[in-house]
Amino acid sequence: MWLSRPFNERSTRLFLLILVLAVTLVTILHLALPPENPLYVSGYTVGLLGKYLCYALLAVAVDLVWGYLGILSLGHGAFFALGGYAMGMYLMRQIGDRGTYGDPVLPDFMVFLNWESLPWYWHGFDMAWFAFLMVLLAPGALALVFGYLAFRSRVTGVYLSIITQAMTFALMLAFFRNEMGFGGNNGLTDFYDILGFDLRSGATRLGLFIASGVALALGYVLCRAIVASKLGRVCVASRDAEARTRFLGYRVERVQLFVFVVSAMLAGVAGALYVPQVGIINPSEFEPLFSIEIVVWVALGGRATLYGAVIGAILVNYAKTVFTGVMPDAWLFALGGLFVVSTVLLPKGIAGVLAYRRKQRNESDTTEVPA
């Protein structure tokens, strides 16, 4: 089976091992240790880590299209946000009549803005299966339509990047509009529970953290499977010489569309897991700068490696957390400096350094053997 192919790769196995160990360890440290213990992992940290994992999955999705397909998407935040909104809508509906106005159907902000009834696109989101389906379908459909148009007319390079940016920018403006019925600038927030579990309980948050870990693992394996397949090589081929690939008989636009849609769906899943953990989804997730930032994570971690994207996402966000805490006035210097220095010094990102190290070690190993 093509899906099992990644498990033959050492790097994937190693990645999964580390991920599983890390998640388990955090879980154990969180549950088993008393808060006084210096090794205790607080609920706050668990939430933080869960968020990082979502970002990591998002970065993997971006790396799939950027690293392997050569599509620099500056609009992946849109798919992330759409997934998030799908989840957010579900969570809103779960509130039921516990909202401030006590309306059993309408979310607070609708009551507040005098909406008479639920807009049609809000229907169905009270059912978990439907909402979760939409988490995949909404970003997938957007990617499908958008990608179909763009790839069909062979929009490439910066042109593609910029229209993805235009897409997310337009969506941001649209979602900001209160008429859209997604809560405008305030977005969706003040959630109570998910699948019947209380979102304000530590256990649920731990569960979400583990779910994020699982999603990341699955997403990673899926991407690896695509990349390691012949399709992955077609992707790389079309990245480097699109026209040539066509002359070999590959329908490049379909390959691009397929991978783009898969990537969008992964981004959607990441967004869906992100929302209950941070407790809010608002149009700022659509901001073009956020999408650029995702690309920066990937570049920092190392493009076209997938695990590099994971490292980049976690590292940058960890750095952000630390810096904003330690030096609130100057953290942008640190972050900006990190981007600059690492690009200049690490041309292939962190993954590049790791690969280089490994290569060196291997070489020293092999030279030792004959001696």
Partner: protein, 547 residues
């Protein structure tokens, strides 16, 4: 002559007051002008007059103002002007009235309102201001403008006459008639005629309609529509005149929209044109472009700080300064970061993103996180009136001209100098260009400096329109990329056309769809347009572009 305001509605009272004050000022003027100023040394009189101003109620203040005018005190003008400017203040302890000459900081220099002698700096804690409100302000202003009608320069007379349209009553009409005879300037006469015609139209005179027809002045239109409500010949004529006016207004609105569009477009072009060089020609995805714009804007502010009191000169000087500052920063960025990323264009995105964060925070730390004030010089503020319904804002006119200049300059540099050729050669095939003897490093530095400098110029212009703050750049970076790409990467003309057309489209859509939706529609338009033309407005065609 006194009208008890309490018996009237507040606004109507003020209108009446205005008229009274106007007349009084007029008299004052007519009397005072021929005679030399008489010495006024009984200070008590003045003190009393001013004291009457220091009351809470604005009605009472209006009366006090009137009293001042009636007093025929020669310092009245001074007081009223100070009052209008908010400079008339009272010392809390000794009750002395002073006129402050500067109101920045905690200690304010002042002079005595009665004697005019300098009293040094006074802590603002010690002072309490004689407040006025909008009603009083317009009362004072129209009073002063009446004076201008008689004594002012031509433009002032014109403004004053225009302000009279719709405000003429019986008493005023007579004095205006006589003023009309003395007035030499045709435009002013025309205005005065209109003002009188509106008055006569209210009296139901037919020939007034004739005078007024075709005028785009809003007060005239109001008068006409009021007249049109009635019955009879005058009303019919008024209706006909209105139809004609509406027609003209429509045309004017179209022109206005076009102007708005072009002016918005030239802002876009200015913001994007530097990027068209660094990104379009050199291929550096320069996320710090916005910050370079911001630095240009800050140089305007800086120049104005350095040259207080000469905002105009400062703005002019900030053109070269803004260029140099941004160009210099551009060179630093190029040397420290971008030169290490040769052949890795996508990574320039990452590094310059970092640079943009650093620059933003730098400005926040070094200058301030708050917006800075940039003063619009006299000659750039206001607007030129094409007619009563269409006036073009001056600052935007200047910016449009500036954009054209910058664009032409750039085109010349890129077309006529070796730099233009060399930079394209270097970006297309660096190794080969060097093998042909082109000093690639120098070309890189110069080009990046040029692109950055132009961004600085954009900043100088934007400082006249929008916030000068650390976030300035971020609000333009996305638009800039959009414009460059829409026009076709590497094509300066494309950038020009793209910027202008996006501006016009936006402004056409805006009244119809609202600002938010218009923006969304423009974005959707760009997306769809790129489907049709995957390489922008002016694509590079043929084999060459493919590879």
């Amino acid at each position: 002559m006194r009208i008890p305001c309490t018996l009237m509605g507040q606004t109507r009272c003020h209108a009446a007051m205005t008229r009274i004050v106007n007349l009084w000022l007029l008299c004052l003027l007519l009397i005072a002008l021929p005679f030399a100023a008489m010495a006024q040394d009984d200070a008590d009189d003045g003190q009393a007059l001013l004291e009457a101003l220091d009351v809470r109620s604005f009605q009472d203040k209006a009366e006090a103002i009137e009293a001042i005018i009636q007093s025929e005190d020669e310092r009245a003008n001074d007081w009223l002007q100070a009052l209008l400017d908010g400079d008339l203040q009272r010392h809390k302890d000794d009750g002395r009235f002073v006129i402050i000459t500067d109101n920045v900081g905690r200690e304010w220099p002042a002079r005595d309102a009665l004697t005019g002698e300098d009293v040094g700096e006074i802590s603002r804690r010690e002072l309490s201001r004689i407040d006025i409100n909008n009603a009083l302000r317009s009362q004072l202003r129209s009073a002063l403008s009446m004076v201008e009608l008689y004594t002012g320069e031509r433009d002032e007379r014109l403004d004053a006459a225009e302000g009279l349209i719709g405000d003429v009553d019986d008493e005023l009409a007579d004095s205006l008639e006589s003023r009309l005879d003395d007035e030499a300037d045709a435009d002013v006469r025309n205005r005065l005629n209109q003002a009188l015609a509106v008055y006569r139209l209210e009296q139901g005179e037919m020939d007034a309609v004739e005078t007024l027809s075709g005028s785009l002045n809003s007060d005239v239109r109001i008068a006409l529509s009021r007249a049109a409500e009635g019955e009879g010949a005058v009303a019919d004529a008024a209706r006909a005149a209105l139809v004609d006016i509406e027609q003209k207004l429509k045309v004017n609105r179209g022109l206005e929209t076009l102007y708005f569009g072009l002016s918005m477009g030239s802002v876009l072009v200015l913001a994007a044109i530097g990027l068209a060089i660094t990104f379009g020609v050199m291929g550096v995805i320069n996320m710090a472009h916005g910050e370079l714009i911001m630095l240009g804007a800050y140089s305007t502010w800086m120049m104005q700080q350095l040259l207080p009191g000469h905002p105009g000169l400062a703005v002019l000087l900030s053109i070269p300064v803004g260029f140099l500052v941004s160009a210099l920063v551009g060179v630093i960025i190029e040397r420290s970061v971008i030169q290490h990323l040769k052949g890795r264009p996508l990574e320039t995105l990452l590094a310059t993103f970092g640079v943009s964060l650093i620059l933003q925070q730098l400005v926040r730390t070094v200058v301030s996180p708050l917006n800075r004030t940039v003063t619009t010089p006299e000659w750039m503020s206001g607007s030129v009136a094409i007619n009563d319904a269409l006036s073009l804002t001056l600052n935007r006119l200047y910016i449009m001209a500036f954009a054209v200049l910058v664009f032409v300059g750039l085109i010349l540099i890129m077309r006529r100098t070796r730099l233009g050729l060399e930079v394209r050669a270097v970006t297309q095939n660096r190794a080969m260009a060097r093998s042909m003897g082109i000093r690639a490093t120098r070309v890189d530095i110069l080009t990046f400096a040029l692109g950055s400098g132009v961004a600085g110029l954009a900043g100088v212009a934007l400082a006249q329109l929008t916030n000068v703050g650390p976030n300035l750049g971020q609000s333009y970076i996305i638009d800039s990329f959009m414009v460059v790409v829409f026009g076709g990467v590497g094509n300066l003309w494309g950038t020009l056309v793209a910027g202008l057309s996006l501006g016009v489209i936006n402004q056409i859509l805006e009244p119809w769809a609202g600002a938010v939706l218009a923006k969304i529609l423009v974005l959707v338009f760009i997306i769809l347009f790129i489907q049709k033309r995957p390489r922008g407005l002016f694509p590079q065609k043929g084999r060459a572009a493919e590879g």
